[in-house]
Amino acid sequence: MAGKIVADTLEHSTAGSVDTQFVVNGSAKAWGHMNGSGTPAYGDSLNMASITDNGTGNYTQAFTSALANVSYSASGTNGDGSAQTGGAICNRSAVYATGSYGFTTTFTTGSTPAAYDPSDVSTSINGDLA
């Protein structure tokens, strides 16, 4: 039988205490590791319902449970196996919606960054659930 505890603070015998608002507010609400080349697919994820390939280096991640507003934080890192490419999650043209997060991935060969589909994309979302 599942139980329910309502509490404001968790206290460890030696490591200190934490207000449970930090447990609720501080936990990542979604994260995912995916291969973005070809048909994008998650290796592992939390609260990610689907990933849509909008074009080269442009994806939309749909959440299973929506966020409360569009002011959430999104971060990520990407790369792939090519020795001459490294990249970053780029929030230019990012689309923040309560039900999804759209972003671009870039690589940095030469002096002009360009969009590309990396084989290794990690993203995490922090904020409030609806």
């Binding site: 603070t9 015998s13 609400k29 939390l46 890192t77 196996g81 002096s111 609806a130």
Partner: protein, 139 residues
């Protein structure tokens, strides 16, 4: 206000799964999955300023650092996200994260991950600071 005095939180149905009600009171999330499993704030080289669940930091090569974890992850599909501080802000020297690549591909295993930093021109360069956070499942 109430306080729970406890050293370990364990789910009743599944030991590693506890449900937490979300901020808006209409949805729930998983406590264990939402918690960061490791983080590191490191200076250039192998100086760890602040970390959690990090056993050691190895300066593997120019712009290539290996973060070794104390408690392993369950598989290699976890989520290391990072940010790097460049040496300077001139256009040719701005360093960027080159992901977790090492050699011919993504180099992430259950007990470690790589951080790669380089110039916009893609040549490797050390960063004055790299900060990473890991999400995913512990072993």
């Amino acid at each position: 206000m109430s306080t729970i005095l406890v050293n370990t939180l364990t789910g009743t149905s599944t030991a590693g799964s506890i449900t937490v009600t979300g901020e808006g009171n209409s949805t729930t999330t998983n406590l264990q999955k939402g918690l960061a499993k490791a983080y590191i704030n490191q200076d250039e080289g192998t100086s760890i300023i602040k970390s959690f669940n990090v056993a050691s930091l190895v300066d593997n090569a120019t712009g290539d650092y290996i973060v070794n974890l104390t408690n392993n992850m369950s598989d290699a599909n976890y989520i290391p996200t990072s940010a790097a501080v460049p040496h300077d802000f001139t256009a040719s020297s701005v360093s960027v994260l080159h992901g977790t690549r090492s050699g011919s591909g993504r180099d992430v295993d259950t007990d470690h991950f790589h951080q790669r930093t380089g110039k916009v021109s893609s040549s490797a360069v050390d960063s004055t600071s790299v900060r990473s956070t890991v999400h995913g499942d512990l072993a």
